[in-house]
Subunit: 641 residues, 2 copies
């Protein structure tokens, strides 16, 4: 599948965009006109750079407001078009995007529009240029792709075809059946964007909130499969207007985009092979996939199949404050299992199947600004127990994830992993069904308790949030649940859970509010993200027993206000003794029709804390009503209130 | 007018919110339940704190999902209500907000709902509590205020009244005529919020985008006047859910909120006096206003009338780099007018009526992190030429602006001003029609050219953007134009022009994109605002003459790409000689049906640069299509590209 990306998706200068697209592995780009207009490089410079980078220049865009106008206006519009055609020849480009008229159209007359398109085609012919006519969702008279196709058909000119853009089509929920009626060779271009389910005017939705395939709510696998079935053989191109992407690192966004296309390609390949689901493409499927890919003109490549992970195998924490961290683990009922036999700064603590690997950081070795004096502790990585670690790693590599450099001696378990968008390390490990093989390197697993890692709560940088969703979706087959806003004293925290279908993996992703404040004089405005600590939640069978042990061992519980328990009494019909017991043990409570959730929090060490949870019945949530209580308590602690 | 604010408007803990509301000057607060639930302070503590702070606790909110349910559910809901009534007694509170049922309502039967409200009233009577029933815009069966009022009337219970909330009413565009039919004493509470004109689902709009009166697009003066006319005598309270406010400084947001109510109060006072416009309240008006205020039960107080400013009198820049800055002013045709006679570090440069005051900063005296080594230059303040400086200053003080501390000797012009939300200093000065009186302190004004300050382009911190709009609206009578997004290589810049009706004052306010990036290891995520330089635009009569002089004097023009001029040729039917001349002089061009705009930019010094503009005809814009060209050129310069 030939991949392309519109330069408007990326931050930076035109040259930075082209270099990033090439480095990420795209085959081509769409040149967004404004990127060229503001560039000091001539069209010839750009053409040369693209050649050097191995990028095709697939589409010049946009050309606006041509058709459906009176003759005098149209004559001016043709002159405007001719200037662009001449420019495109200097760029060596052969396809231009024509958007349906949004502003100046005054005449809603199919025959007139078809005639004007035909005359544009005659002009384009002289410059050897193809015109891809697209219905913008907010076009004045032409806003549906099937109407645009009718007009292209009526224009009946070899230089006039249509451009299909998933945003303009799916945002209007137009019936997709007409796609099958368009011959593939009259689809001159294909643009893809996904979008979150928002109820807002389609123009704002389009201009600010598009995301890459797999990051939104639409079924682009189905959409691309329909287009592939027409015989379309051109590039599959991303055109995503997104406020965050526009201000994120250019190369990272490009990689994120290419990952979305590789993931989608594999999904369509699997779909066309008749497989169910989007991410299936086993060894058998691969061969068939190749055949199906050949069946369409898009030449679709599959990815190695991976099932969703079975469990969180371990969490790795890095710390400069080993004493405090291990004391807290002990208070939570973890046992010291051993030092790593060849890495003495690494140790393992376990509580049943919950495994925490701790790597000690030598504070003296850190080059750190004097202002950050408190010793750091942070969540460094997560190990996932998968069916086939090699396939998972291969898939991750094909999805352009960066491997974590890692030394291991010849007699150690091979443990490979990649960096997640937030910098966390994600490892793939294949257990034999009991304890993982790597655990021998620490001695023997002594965990007796029925305990496991219930969920891992991660903080995400706002600019890379959508990238994270796609990362976990495409690499690990996790599914994004609807997002929620959690109020905290310093703003709303956006929270969205990524989970496996059987909920054995649960990872809430959180974006903390960003402050912009004036510090000192006005010339030096500053912004800062409020610290949003990450945490590991451990499941247990008896929360009160766990809390009693923790208390006996001197755990610094996160305080829960009396008011919370009084409110609880008004919300649930709880036995007063039970309520007293909750309060006595600092345990928070939630319930729904499926079951109950009891949990307590520890104080924060560096940027990490722990939660102990007991799930009763089939409760699947995270105690959402309790999150504001935690955030308020952490806010008070941070400020010494 | 008694003022109140819902604690949910503000960031911080409940105690911080109460202290901020009191310090800002509010008479009371609404207690948002969640703020209490997460607080470690008991209800009695909160009641005591409020008493100490002189705040009344006006409304407990929200109570949800009571009515329109089967009998068993209703019995449970009454128990829930009773728990809250008991809690309110401990708080010493007497009014609760009941929101129309959004979730659990199953029965759409007026008689049933009225009966259930009546039974709630009987319960409330026992606790001496009033219930204010409000139609949420997204209520299941009750979503319009007139329907809620019908139900309150049908309930016919002294403890059951209604709550009017401008958001829920204006967002649905419900006919406002019914307000006049509600007796003032049956309106148990009044909540105000403004909102920007957005087309999105009303729930998201409400939860994230409400703003204080004067910061959005609604006519709250009319709304409040209608409620005042009913005889309503309770608090006028702000209930604003806003993502930015929730993460901004608590006290500043409280001041912003109180300012909005004071401004609104004066506007309603003027309206009820039959005056036109919203901010009129002259000496004569004041007396009548008092009478009109007495005519309503709200006791509305006017503000001193101020007309909109006549011109920008001067701009003050602070610099550590006097040589570079003054050289650039000279290149732009400014003349050195003199040093201030008693402040030798202050000097004045003029070009006709364009006056730039420069105050030199002693770099050695600045305590600055080693990382910020480049010498600073920034826009420190703006002086406005107003009709009545004393009235303007008095009005600003009544609107809770903070006065700029300023020393002046006995024989100098009194120049008073206040801090704008971005930290800029805003001065009020009353000229005698020719040169301002303060100019004598610098010698004689030598400006010969027909030149003035055309506009001042300011950067605003995102968290205080709405506050800035209200600041300039309420203090200076400026008007906010629709906002625009300007693409730059580092993201979208939100830009909105504040201007006077006759356009003699033009101030584009800009919010630059914020980056969040990972620096080093993942434990240390950072966010940074891209530097968005501010600038002063100077008008001239002949842009080519100004450019020629500037070039002869060696001005470092901001480079304009060749591609820009080629695109210009395709957009406008320009004479080739004219086009060549534009390019030769680095002059950018825009035109609309009213006229033309020619301008060039200088390089940036510190965080300031200049623009020279020539307006032809009645062109009123700012060359919006050229802004991306400038931003891209500045981006390249910043990065040495």
């Amino acid at each position: 599948m030939r991949t392309s990306i519109a330069t408007v998706c990326l931050s930076g200068t035109l040259e930075e965009k082209l270099r990033a697209a090439s480095a990420a592995g795209f085959d081509g780009v769409e040149i967004f006109e404004q990127d060229l207009v503001v560039s000091p490089q001539t069209p010839e410079d750009i053409a040369r750079l693209a050649r050097e980078l191995g990028l095709s220049l697939d589409l010049y865009q946009p050309f606006r407001d041509l058709e459906g106008v009176d003759e005098a206006t149209f004559a001016g519009n043709l002159r405007r078009a001719e200037a662009k055609f001449a420019l495109m020849r200097r760029l060596g480009m052969s396809t231009i995007l024509l958007c349906s008229n949004v502003g100046t159209a005054t005449i809603d007359d199919d025959e007139l529009v078809a005639g004007q398109l035909r005359r544009l085609g005659d002009l384009a012919e002289r410059y050897d240029i193809d015109v891809a006519y697209e219905a913008l969702a907010w076009g004045r008279f032409v806003s549906e792709y099937d109407r645009a196709w009718d007009l292209v058909r009526a224009a009946d000119h070899p230089r006039i075809g249509t451009c299909l853009d998933s945003f303009h089509i799916l945002s209007r929920r137009t019936d997709l059946e007409t796609i099958a009626r368009i011959p593939g060779d009259k689809i001159f271009f294909l643009q893809l964007a996904d979008a979150p389910a928002l109820t807002m005017d389609v123009l704002s939705w389009s201009r600010h909130h598009r995301v890459f395939p797999g990051e939104g709510s639409w079924d682009l696998t189905d959409f691309l499969a329909r287009v592939a079935a027409t015989g379309y053989s051109g590039p599959v191109s991303l055109e995503v207007f997104n406020d965050s992407f526009r201000q994120a690192d250019t190369y990272r966004t490009a990689v994120d985009g290419l990952r979305s296309l590789r993931w989608l390609e594999a999904g369509v390949s699997a779909t066309l092979n008749g497989a169910l689901g989007v991410a299936v493409g086993s060894a058998a499927g691969s061969a068939a996939g190749g055949a199906a890919g050949a069946g369409t003109a898009l030449d679709l490549r599959p990815l190695p199949e991976v099932a969703e992970p079975r469990a969180v195998d371990f969490v790795e924490l890095s710390t400069e404050d080993l004493g405090t961290l291990t004391r807290q683990l002990h208070q939570l009922g973890f046992d010291f299992t051993g030092f790593h036999r060849s890495k003495p700064h690494v140790q393992l603590w376990t509580r049943g199947q919950a495994r925490i690997v701790i790597s000690e950081i030598d504070s003296a070795a850190i080059d750190r600004p004097w202002s950050e004096r408190s010793p750091g502790s942070y969540l460094r990585g997560i190990g996932f127990d998968v069916d086939d670690a090699e396939a998972a790693m291969h898939r991750a590599t094909l999805l352009h994830a960066i491997e974590v450099p890692r030394e291991q001696s010849h007699d150690e378990e091979v443990l490979r992993g990649v960096f997640a968008p937030d910098g966390s390390e994600v490892f793939f490990h294949q257990s034999d069904g009991t304890a993982p093989a790597w655990i021998r390197e620490f001695g023997t697993d002594t965990g007796r308790r029925a305990s496991r890692i219930d969920h891992v709560n991660l903080a995400q940088p706002a600019s890379h949030y959508d990238e994270s969703v796609l990362f976990y979706t495409s690499l690990l087959n996790l599914h994004a649940q609807p997002s929620q806003d959690v109020p905290s004293p310093s703003g709303l925290v956006r929270s969205q859970v990524m989970s496996s279908a059987d909920r054995s993996i649960r990872m809430p992703l959180n974006v903390a509010p960003v402050h912009s404040e004036l510090v000192g004089d006005k010339a030096r405005a500053q912004t800062s993200a409020d610290p949003y600590p990450e945490h590991v939640a451990i499941s247990c069978e008896d929360i009160f027993e766990a809390a009693a042990i923790a208390r006996a061992r001197g755990l610094d519980f996160l305080a829960v206000p009396q008011n919370y328990y009084e409110d609880l009494a008004s919300r649930f019909d709880l036995d007063p003794d039970f309520l007293r017991r909750l309060q006595e043990h600092h345990v928070l409570y939630d319930a729904d029709s499926a079951g109950e959730f009891l949990h307590f929090y520890t104080s924060t060490i560096g940027s990490v804390f722990f939660e102990m949870v007991e799930r009763r019945g089939a409760y699947q949530g995270f105690g959402a009503p309790d999150a504001p209580v935690r955030l308020a308590a952490q806010y008070r602690r941070n400020r010494g209130l």
